[in-house]
Amino acid sequence: MTRLTNKRAGYITITSPKEKTYEADTATCKHCNRAWIIRSTKKGEGDPGGWCLMCQAPICPTCAGKECKPFLKKLEEIEARDRLFAEMKL
């Protein structure tokens, strides 16, 4: 399979003694950090997802059409909450 030219794309291979090697290109969502298959050697599989104009990056089909909240921002919120809980000794 021809790889996507996007150097940031991920790559899946499943090799099996019984079947032809399965290959797929994946992308990582900038909003939820999930990886999803953009296209593969299996006919009809894959979803291009969406594109966030704020992040200028691909987003998964689940996050497409929703507000822009970068995953790094969510991580910072999780970390801030954990620091607060630690200070409160909870």
Partner: protein, 150 residues
């Protein structure tokens, strides 16, 4: 410069059992999971398995595995690996990062450039786990290798 490590783990199939996990040992660094390789060393049989990668918020009980540095001059990893879990880690609900369905006889590999990998928060005992979701049958041993950057 970012440092990269490999961690190896295994588990005999049971529903919801974790094959391999990675959790922060402290609160100093984020780690990024960027490669996963899975396969079974058990006598080949024609069974299908569904496996997923989830986010861990509390480490369970397991056999500790020390991540091995790709560059031998790197310091020890700040992340703890876990194999052969006897008490399952706590997973974040509905935060599945990657889902795989594969035959027991197959070998699976997923890899991304490290900056595009799965990121953990800088929180103790937070990280990632690779676990079984279901199977068509059989109880084979699965082996996994995960690579991370920190």
């Amino acid at each position: 410069m970012a440092r990269r490590y490999s961690t190896i783990g295994s588990q005999t199939y049971a529903v919801s059992d974790t094959i391999i996990s990675l959790v922060n040992a402290g609160t100093t660094i984020r780690h990024i999971l960027y490669e996963l390789i899975l396969g079974s060393s058990t006598t080949p049989a024609d069974n299908a398995y569904n496996i997923t990668v989830g986010r861990i918020t509390a480490a369970g009980t397991n056999t500790a595995v020390v991540p091995v540095a790709h560059d031998s001059s790197s310091p020890a990893s700040l992340v703890t690996g876990g194999s052969n879990h006897t008490v399952e880690p706590t997973y974040t609900a509905a935060a599945e990062l990657l889902n795989i369905s594969m035959n027991q006889q197959a070998t699976f590999r997923w890899v991304v450039p490290p900056e595009e990998g799965f990121m953990s928060p800088v929180t103790a005992a937070n990280g990632f786990g690779v676990l079984f979701v279901g199977a068509s049958g059989g109880t084979p041993d699965f082996q996994g290798t995960i690579c991370h950057q920190e």
